[in-house]
Amino acid sequence: MITVESLTKSYGGFTAVDDVSFTAQPGRVTGFLGPNGAGKSTTMRVMVGLTAPGGGEVRVLGRRFKDLPDPGREVGVLLDASAQHAGRTGREILTIAALTMGLPRTRVDEMIERVSLTPDEASRRVRNYSLGMRQRLGIGTALLGNPEVLILDEPANGLDPAGIRWMRDLLRGFADDGGTVLLSSHLLHEIEVIADDIVVIGNGRIVAQGTKDELLAGAGTLARASDGPALAAALEAAGITARPTSAGAVLAEADLATIGRAAFAAGIPLTELRAAEGAGLEEMFLSLTADSQRETSASTDHEGAAA
């Protein structure tokens, strides 16, 4: 169990994490979703005590991380698979971690096998590892102490499709055994396929959180026209709650037929009309990404100007 309460972290005038609160429950996989630079990594570094928070608090298994007596045996952490001494072998990195946690050496071999590194690969220096091998090694280090909680920052990066599948099954099994899993990603799809609960962060703030089903359902209808705001205004005029999102899309709380009629009555040709089914989350995520990516927002502005 991880509890984050009103966490804030600023760098100079820039607020990287702004009043973030959420809980990762045991027995569930919690996906921490947000575009690059949204504050995911900073939040996770604060969680494990590598960065001091500006305000707020994080508790892991009911304690502050630095108060855990032997953190590796309770919390498995993987923040950056490349953050290892390049001159050590994979086996040596696991051995050091095992010695720190007071585990028997046999545990190292078990873990090498568990993360599918061959003995030959394990005795190579990490300098010569691919990113995928580093991720496997990092996941091995995280799992070494048989922890109750996993905190993983972008663990799927660099894994091939089979590796991603492997990791997904591994995390599912970990949560099904009662463990708490928090993993971050900037890819919506990745979080969709694995997470039970989703926390969406953008520009340092939580913009949505809930179970996957809650967030993916209940988004109503997605309609699209060349002029989104005009469509939204027309729907509002017809008494339908609607809000424009991006690229002419509008999320409306009514069924397909009602919206189709309202648009027809207003004389606005629709280019798309479908049940939202997660489009809400997707649209929200896209607009978040647009805010933080100059290219996308520029092209959106351009479209807006053209319309």
Partner: protein
């Protein structure tokens, strides 16, 4: 009412949050053991250690080959071996600290042992141990060299380093390591700390000596400020009077104790990325 709620919540929360008993705290001995291992388990670390033995032997061989017969004495061997030693040992001290940042292994180290002060203390202890053992090796190689050298050349074996000088030479090397360690803690970056070491050990003493020559008021002050001056005295076994020890204390406070304390303070609060 309020009291009941306050009492009830943590108990309930604890039951949900923790399904197993908490493990025992990490004993300091384990941290020491791990930090000692980390000094040897990389290629660079291993070669630095090996180089202590190898350089001692090369220096010894050089004395036997090149020194005139009258100079085949224990002091010649000790001086020849001391030269590489005074460079390699501080490098070991520097890299033991800075590699956690420059190689970024600190991310793992400080999540497994969140008390950074504890890790730094363990590093200081194993650095000190490595220094002592290395000096032991150096003196032993020098002694063997002296025996072999005098036998080859056919002169009497001269043991001209007094028993009181040996601890001072060892202390002098430990001071050099402590300077390196301090630079490592303060700068937390391998290249910067290594350059920094050469600045404070090669460039700065020259400037201070120059300053002492042109400014009379500084001439009296220099031995209290110039750590290199007090270190050379140790290497020569010339730190004998209370005043000389006080000078050593002063340079140690200025260059090691104060910056180390400030450095550890910052290190504990800094962000590990």
């Amino acid at each position: 009412m309020t009291a009941t709620t306050l009492d009830a919540v943590p108990v309930a929360a604890d039951r949900v949050e923790r399904t197993r008993p908490a493990p025992a705290p990490i004993p300091y001995r384990r941290v020491l053991n791990v930090e000692l291992r980390k000094m040897f388990d990389t290629r660079s670390g291993l070669w630095l250690m090996v180089s202590i033995g190898v350089l001692s032997i090369i220096a010894t061989a050089a004395v036997i080959t090149f020194a005139p017969d009258s100079e085949i004495t224990y002091e010649s061997f000790a001086t020849a071996i001391g030269m590489p030693m005074s460079i390699v040992l501080p490098m070991i001290a520097i890299l033991g600290v800075t590699s956690e940042w420059s190689q970024r292994s600190g991310l793992t180290t400080f999540t497994l042992v969140p008390s950074r002060g504890r890790v730094i203390r363990a590093k200081a202890t194993v650095t000190f141990l490595v220094g002592l053992v290395s000096m032991g090796v150096a003196f032993a190689v020098g002694a063997v060299g002296n025996l072999v050298g005098s036998a080859i050349v056919g002169v009497d074996t001269v043991w001209n380093i007094s028993a009181s000088t040996v601890p001072q030479i060892i202390l002098g090397n430990l001071v050099g390591m402590a300077i390196g360690f301090t630079l490592g803690v303060v700068l937390r970056n391998s290249p910067a700390a290594i350059v920094g070491y050469f600045v404070v050990s090669l460039v700065m003493p020259g400037i201070l000596v120059l300053l002492a020559e042109v400014r009379d008021w500084f001439a009296d002050l220099q031995p209290w400020i110039d750590w290199n001056y007090t270190q050379v005295n140790l290497f020569e076994g010339a730190t004998n009077t209370a005043k000389e020890w006080a000078m050593l204390g002063s340079t140690t406070a200025i260059w090691i104790l104060v910056p180390l304390m400030v450095g550890v303070l910052f290190l504990r609060r800094s962000e590990v990325k």
